[in-house]
Symmetry: C2
DNA sequence: TTTACTTCCTACAGCGACTGGAGAAGCAAG
DNA sequence: CTTGCTTCTCCAGTCGCTGTAGGAAGTAAA
């Protein structure tokens, strides 16, 4: 597993070519060695690092946390308490988002179930226009529910 | 309720000054009339519109959908089926995100519960390094879980 | 050897929904 | 008249990419 092209590394790690370069620029990966003509070269360790990053991203960790986790991984013998606390913090935020979304779901369910009449009396429109029609206090709920920095 | 400054409108609607201008630029609000010196003026109807937008945002509707909902609100006598279907679609996406986050939570819970030893055998680090240690297939879970376009 | 195709390089714009700041001008109170 | 608040326009930054432009280099077949 020596001297893979960036394309090969992308295929093996599941991280796109552009994204690999992006990670390098962000300091998540060391600068790759280059061929004479300037092309990046990767080995098995680099692919492992990429897979690690992808996995952590799939689980919703922000890049900043991933950088910390990678640093911890590279230092065997250290306590794993920091990694554990990072993961716990992330779990807590996931739980907060689930709670927020569940509240949101309740509110949306209540406002749907329109009786099919015209917009003048539409439940959906009315509910949006008048906060007083709402059951709970959902101020900024969507904000809590959001994953930082992901859009589809 | 006539001739409010943008600051007053912001206070009454709960939408920040900058955000009001942003909404105007996006076409969610009609261009506000101006004073001789070029300052925007608002009335009760404008504040209501702003509150409507804020409420819909709190519930996680994207601006594009909100534009549609505002248009529907302005046309009494039309069927409310479009508004209803918008809300239903949004509810479905909220439910999908809850499901994704719940799966994520399970995975995170499994990998936490580190026994406090060193990073060489840390559950968190190991789980991230080796996808095979995972229970479910969580590829791109965080992506589904995300609210489009919100970052804190 | 020429052509054609693919991959690679850098650099930058765009997504969504804002937020915050610069620099200039307006306005009210002391 | 000065101080301090608000407003104006314009622009950069957030987050984690993705996609494109425009070019160079590598590979394979004709």
């Amino acid at each position: 597993m020596r001297d893979l092209t960036i394309g090969e590394a992308a295929r093996r790690s599941g991280v796109k070519v552009n994204t690999i370069r992006f990670y390098e620029g962000r300091g998540l990966l060391p600068e790759a060695p280059r061929t004479d003509s300037g092309r990046r070269l990767y080995d098995g360790a680099a692919v492992g690092r990429l897979a690690f990053i992808r996995h952590a991203r799939d689980l919703g960790f922000p890049l900043e946390d991933i950088a910390d986790l990678l640093a911890l991984q590279g230092q065997p013998g250290t306590s794993c308490a920091p990694a554990d606390s990072l993961a716990r913090r992330h779990l807590a935020s996931v739980e907060a988002r689930i709670a927020a979304l569940t509240a949101l779901k309740g509110e949306l369910t209540r406002m749907i179930a329109c009786d099919g009449s015209d917009t003048a009396h539409c439940r959906v429109i009315e509910s949006l226009a008048d906060h007083a029609l709402c059951a709970g206090d959902h101020a900024r709920l969507a904000e809590v529910a959001a994953v930082p920095g992901v859009s589809d």
